[in-house]
Amino acid sequence: MHFKKLKLTGFKSFVELTEFEIGKGLTGIVGPNGCGKSNIMEALRWAMGENSPKRMRSSGMEDVIFAGTEMRPPRNSAEVTLFLDNSERTAPAELNDSDELEVVRKIERDVGSTYKVNGKVVRMRDVQLLFADSSVGSHSPALVSQGRVADMINAKPTQRRMVLEEAA
């Protein structure tokens, strides 16, 4: 399974529709402090079923919805779509009938999150399993958030062992 593209609308500072292609090899993201680089990574983690607001630098999950600026009103919903290449047919059986998978997560104020895969409504659990099977997921050690290396260095030995267990 390959990650091909990410589409964001109303997610944190990406209020307008934004498409991010994930090509083979090394893709760099650059830009000034506070411009939204880490938000892209959080959109990826969120679409894979992240359910802890703390890992999204938020106090509640609704903090991911565009909160407005001095010039624009806040939005009521946020949506992220993750496009996956499934031509090797490695997805779980009930989702494995096509070459491409479109995983959509949407959140609305006071309503909560809904997940869809190729247009079909699914549970959070289904999405988390889809990614766990290909050894990536919102808790994967392959997603190294800003400050995570410093946390590993300052962590107590027992906390580091727990990270090792997650990687197993």
């Binding site: 399974m1 760099g28 411009c35 407005g68 392959a142 190294v144 027992t158 062992r161």
Partner: protein
């Protein structure tokens, strides 16, 4: 769960040792389960010996050495269970130019050895120049992010001019 942890420990440790020597251009390092006989209650300690120095625990190394050692551990875990995508958010911030160079070389090697796609967020010019493609995020309208694809050649010219 205990046997799974022990076998993961062995695999990660083997990868970690090789990656450490690659990143430091020499020296050696290893992981150890300490503080308890039962692996599920134990702690993971990291011992490292940068080239020409004495062996010590991670906390006695310098800021940059600790970062580079942790990068070796992170990639050690990654290689134990390769994921289709790997995202690295400003992991190179404390590194000097020659360590940034080794970090980039390792990324290039891993991108060739696996089919993993890497997304690398950075402020280091050297790291930017080693990417296959580059996206810039701007906030020309305050508080609103916009993603633009950057032509690498163009970007290099701008950096040189700066």
């Amino acid at each position: 769960a205990r046997t799974r942890l022990l076998s993961a420990f062995d695999t990660v440790n083997t990868h970690f040792q090789k990656l450490f020597t690659r990143l430091f251009n020499g020296g050696s390092a290893y992981l150890k389960l300490i503080e308890a006989d039962d692996p599920l209650e134990s702690g993971l300690e990291i011992y490292a010996q940068p080239p020409g120095k004495k062996l010590s625990v991670l906390s006695l190394l310098s800021g940059g050495e600790q970062t580079l050692t942790s990068i070796a551990l992170i990639f050690g875990m990654f290689l134990t269970n390769p994921a289709p995508i790997c995202v690295l958010d400003e992991v190179d911030a404390p590194l000097d130019e020659s360590n940034v160079d080794r970090y980039c070389t390792l990324l290039e090697d891993l991108a060739k050895e696996t089919s993993t796609r890497f997304v690398v967020i950075t402020h280091h010019r050297m790291t930017m120049a080693r990417m296959d493609r580059l996206y810039g995020v701007t906030m020309s309208e305050k508080g609103v992010s916009q993603l633009v694809s950057v032509d690498l050649k163009q970007h290099e010219l701008q950096l040189e001019a700066a």
